[in-house]
C-alpha cells in the first residue's frame, strides 16, 4: 500500500542511484581504493628500480641510436635521424651476422628442446635418486657462460686438449674444433646446447609432473601404446609450458654474446659472428656507440618479431 501511495519519479531514482552509493557499493569502492593504494605502495619501489636499471639504459641507447655520439666525439647532438640504422643495414656483414644468428638460435633451441624433453621424460619415469639427477643437471646452468666457454676452449684445444686426446686414444683423427669455419659453428652450438639444456629439462620436468593422470589411465584402458600416449596426450597438454620454454630460450640464444667472444672472437673469418658480437664490434672497436646502439635495436626488433610470430602461430594452432 505504501509503495502504491508514494510514487517516486524515475529520474529522481536514477539520480539517487548515481550520487548516493549504496552501502555495499561504497564498501567495494573503499576497498578498491585501499587495495589500489596498497598495491601501488608495494609496486612502486620495484617499478622505480626497474625504470632506473632497465628503462633508463633502454631509452638512453635509443637516443644514442639516433645521435652522432661516438667515443671520439661524445656528444648526442646533432641528431642524425635514421643515418645510423642506414649505415648498419647497408653493411653486408650485418646481414651475414643476422642470418647466422637466426640459424644459430633455431638450431640450438631445437637441440635443447629435443634433448631436454627426452631427459625430462626419462626423469619423469625415474623414481630413484631423482634429486641427485636434478642437482647434477643444474650444474651447467649455474655456471657463467664465460666460465663454460673457457673450460670448453681448453677441452677442445686441438693440440693439447682432452677431446682430441681421447679421439686419438680411440684411434680416431684429431678434429679442429674451433679453428675451422666448418666446425667452429657446430662446436659453439653444441657447447651452448650442453649448457642451456638443463634449464629446458627443469621446466619441462616440472610441466610433466603437473600433468593429470586421468587421461593416461583412460588411454591405457583404451589400449593406447606409449608413443600414442606421448603424441596425443603428453605433447598437447605440455604445449603451454613448452611454448614458454621455447620463447625464453629463443630470446636467450638470439642474444648470445659470451660464447663467441671467448671461444672464437667471431672467427674463423666470420663463421661465428653473431649479431650481438657485430654490435659490440661497432660500438667498442669502431668507437661508434651510435651505430652499435642501432645494431642492438635491430636485434631487439628481431627478437620481438620472432616472439610475436611464435605466439601467433601457437594461438592459431590452438584456435
Amino acid at each position: 500500500m505504501l509503495a502504491d501511495s508514494v510514487k517516486v519519479p524515475n529520474s529522481c531514482l536514477r539520480q539517487s542511484d548515481e550520487t548516493t552509493p549504496q552501502p555495499r557499493q561504497r564498501r567495494w569502492r573503499d576497498r578498491f581504493d585501499r587495495q589500489w593504494q596498497t598495491g601501488w605502495a608495494f609496486a612502486l619501489p620495484g617499478l622505480l628500480v626497474l625504470a632506473i636499471v632497465m628503462g633508463f639504459p633502454l631509452v638512453y641507447s635509443a637516443v644514442l641510436s639516433f645521435s652522432s655520439y661516438t667515443l671520439m666525439r661524445p656528444h648526442v647532438l646533432p641528431l642524425v635521424g635514421l643515418d645510423n640504422f642506414a649505415s648498419v643495414l647497408s653493411d653486408p656483414g650485418f646481414w651475414a651476422a643476422t642470418w647466422l644468428t637466426v640459424k644459430y638460435s633455431i638450431i640450438t633451441v631445437a637441440g635443447e628442446f629435443v634433448l631436454g624433453l627426452g631427459i625430462a621424460l626419462m626423469l619423469n619415469r625415474t623414481l630413484k635418486m631423482r634429486p641427485l639427477y636434478f642437482a647434477l643437471l643444474t650444474i651447467p646452468m649455474a655456471m657463467s657462460p664465460v666460465s663454460v666457454a673457457l673450460i670448453w676452449r681448453m677441452l677442445l684445444q686441438p693440440n693439447l686438449g682432452i677431446a682430441n686426446h681421447l679421439l686419438n686414444q680411440a684411434g680416431l683423427p684429431s678434429i679442429d674444433w674451433l679453428g675451422s669455419a666448418e666446425t667452429a659453428f657446430w662446436s659453439m652450438a653444441a657447447i651452448d646446447i650442453w649448457q642451456q639444456m638443463s634449464f629446458v629439462v627443469l621446466i619441462l620436468a616440472a610441466g610433466l609432473s603437473a600433468l593429470p593422470r586421468d587421461p593416461y589411465e583412460a588411454a591405457e584402458i583404451d589400449g593406447a601404446r606409449g608413443w600414442q600416449q606421448f603424441w596425443y596426450i603428453t605433447l598437447p597438454m605440455l604445449r603451454p609450458v613448452a611454448a614458454i620454454t621455447v620463447v625464453i630460450q629463443l630470446i636467450n640464444e638470439l642474444r648470445t654474446y659470451d660464447l663467441p667472444y671467448v671461444l672464437t672472437k667471431g672467427g674463423p673469418g666470420t663463421s661465428t659472428e653473431v649479431l650481438s658480437f657485430f654490435a659490440y664490434r661497432r660500438a667498442f672497436l669502431g668507437l661508434s656507440l651510435n651505430e652499435g646502439s642501432a645494431a642492438a635495436f635491430v636485434l631487439l626488433l628481431i627478437i620481438l618479431g620472432m616472439t610475436v610470430v611464435f605466439f601467433a602461430l601457437l594461438e592459431r594452432r590452438r584456435a
Partner: protein, 425 residues
C-alpha cells in the same frame, strides 16, 4: 709567554697539517688494469719496495689482453675512473689522447726533471708522443722476432733430408721465403708443427701478419701516408702467411692465441714461432719447459724487420690531482735506471737504452744483444685513433682468407680499402 704559546700552537698546527697532507698522499691507492704477462708479474714482485719507500699502495688487476680495451674505455668515459694508473698499449696511443682521456705528462716530467732522453727513441715515438704532448712513458717493448729450435737445425738426419729436398744446407732462415719453406719441411719431416701460429681473428693474427709484411719488404703506408698494403710486397707477404698457416702451422692455428702458441712451443711440439722476443726466457726454463730448455735461439724476423710494439704508462684525466701525483711518482720510480736494471735481471724487456748495455744483464742474458737488434729493426703497425678497429678489420680479412671464405687478392684489397677508409674517418 702568550706569544710563545701561540708560536708553539701554530707550529703544532703546521706540523699536524703536514702530517695530514703526507697521510693523505700516503692514503692514495693506485689501481691499474694490467695485462697478465711476465712483465706484470716482475713489477708486481717489486711493489712492496715502492710502498715501503713512498707509502703509496699499488694494486694490479691482471686480465687477458683481449678484454683490456673495453674495460679501460668504460672507465675513461666515466665521470671518475676506477683505474688511476694506466697501462697503455701502443695500439691505443692514437685513440686515447685523441679522445682526451689522458693527462699530458710533459708538465710533470719538466717539473720533476724526468729524463726522457734515457729511453730508446723508437719506443717513445711508438706511443704517439710528440712535441704536442707526452701521453705515455714507455714501459716495456714487445718487438717481435723469431724463436726457433736450434737442436733441430743441428739434427743430422733432418739436415740430410733437407739437403736432398732443397739442395741447400739446413740452417736458420735469412728470408721470409726460406722461413716458410723450412717451416713446411719441419712439419713434414720432424713430426711437429713447423710454426706455432696465432691465427685467431683480431689482435693475434694482425700482429703476426705484420711481421710477414715487414719481412717481405712491405708496409701499411708509404712515407706520404698513402696505403700500400695491397702492393706486390703485401701480396707476397699474404701468400707466404697463408701458405705457412695452411701447410706449416699446427692444427687449430686459426683459433690460436699467444697463450696457445706459447704452450705448444713449451711442450716441444713446434719448431718455431714468430713472437715477442721476451718469450725466450719464459721458454728457455728447465722447470717450466723441460722439453725445449737450452734448445732455443732468438733471431730478428727473417727478412730483417719484424713488428714493433710496446706498452706505456699513462694517467687518466678523470681522477683527482692527488691520484695523478701518486701515479706520476710511481712511473718515475718504476722506469728509473736502478729499477729497470733490476727488472731486466728478472727477464724484463727494457725500453731504456742503458739496460741493454748493463754488464750484469748481458752476463745473465747474452741474447739481449740480439734483442737490441730486434727492437731497433722493428716497424710499427699504423698508429691512429682507429688502430684497434683496424686490427679487427685486417684480422677479419686474414682469417677469412686463411679459412677459405675469400681469396687472398680480395682479402688484401678489402684490408687496404678498410685502412684507407679508417684513416679518412
Amino acid at each position: 709567554m702568550t706569544t710563545k704559546r701561540r708560536f708553539i700552537g701554530l707550529a703544532g698546527s703546521l706540523a699536524l697539517l703536514a702530517v695530514t697532507v703526507q697521510a693523505h698522499a700516503e692514503g692514495v691507492v693506485l689501481k691499474a688494469l694490467m695485462e697478465d704477462v711476465p712483465e706484470t708479474q716482475i713489477i708486481e714482485g717489486m711493489l712492496p719496495e715502492f710502498e715501503k719507500q713512498t707509502g703509496i699502495k699499488v694494486e694490479f688487476e691482471k686480465i687477458g689482453y683481449a678484454d683490456m680495451h673495453d674495460k679501460l674505455v668504460s672507465q675513461l668515459i666515466a665521470p671518475k675512473s676506477y683505474y688511476n694508473l694506466l697501462e697503455v698499449d701502443f695500439l691505443w696511443a692514437g685513440e686515447f689522447p685523441a679522445a682526451g682521456w689522458l693527462t699530458d705528462l710533459q708538465p710533470l716530467a719538466k717539473k720533476s726533471s724526468f729524463d726522457m732522453g734515457a729511453f730508446i727513441p723508437s719506443t717513445v715515438d711508438l706511443l704517439g708522443n710528440s712535441s704536442k704532448g707526452l701521453y705515455a712513458v714507455p714501459m716495456y717493448n714487445y718487438s717481435m722476432g723469431l724463436i726457433y729450435r736450434k737442436d733441430l737445425l743441428q739434427d743430422a738426419k733432418l739436415g740430410a733430408a733437407y739437403q736432398q729436398a732443397n739442395g741447400t744446407a739446413l740452417k736458420a732462415p735469412a728470408t721470409l721465403d726460406e722461413y716458410v719453406q723450412l717451416s713446411k719441411f719441419m712439419k713434414q719431416h720432424a713430426n711437429i708443427a713447423g710454426a706455432a701460429m696465432q691465427g685467431q681473428r683480431g689482435d693475434p693474427n694482425s700482429m703476426e701478419f705484420s711481421n710477414y709484411l715487414f719481412a717481405a719488404g712491405g708496409a701499411y703506408q708509404d712515407a706520404s701516408g698513402k696505403v700500400t698494403l695491397d702492393n706486390a710486397a703485401g701480396k707476397k707477404a699474404l701468400d707466404l702467411y697463408l701458405d705457412n698457416i695452411k701447410n706449416g702451422a699446427q692444427t687449430g692455428a686459426l683459433s690460436a692465441t699467444l697463450d696457445d702458441t706459447q704452450r705448444l712451443m713449451c711442450s716441444g711440439q713446434a719448431f718455431s714461432f714468430v713472437t715477442y722476443w721476451w718469450m725466450l726466457p719464459q721458454l728457455d726454463n728447465a722447470e717450466k719447459c723441460p722439453s725445449v730448455a737450452g734448445k732455443l735461439a732468438l733471431a730478428t724476423m727473417p727478412g730483417g724487420h719484424g713488428e714493433s710494439g710496446g706498452w706505456g704508462w699513462g694517467i687518466p684525466k678523470n681522477i683527482s690531482s692527488e691520484e695523478q701525483q701518486a701515479a706520476w711518482t710511481f712511473i718515475q720510480w718504476v722506469q728509473s735506471k736502478p729499477v729497470v736494471a733490476a727488472r731486466a735481471l728478472l727477464g724484463h724487456a727494457p725500453v731504456r737504452a742503458d739496460a741493454y748495455q748493463d754488464p750484469a744483464v748481458l752476463a745473465k742474458y747474452p741474447y739481449y744483444k740480439v734483442a737490441a737488434d730486434v727492437v731497433a729493426s722493428g716497424k710499427s703497425f699504423p698508429i691512429f685513433p682507429y688502430s684497434a678497429q683496424y686490427e679487427d678489420v685486417l684480422g677479419t680479412q686474414l682469417s677469412m682468407a686463411a679459412g677459405g671464405q675469400v681469396t687472398a687478392d680480395v682479402a688484401l684489397k678489402d684490408a687496404a680499402d678498410g685502412l684507407t677508409k679508417l684513416l679518412k674517418k
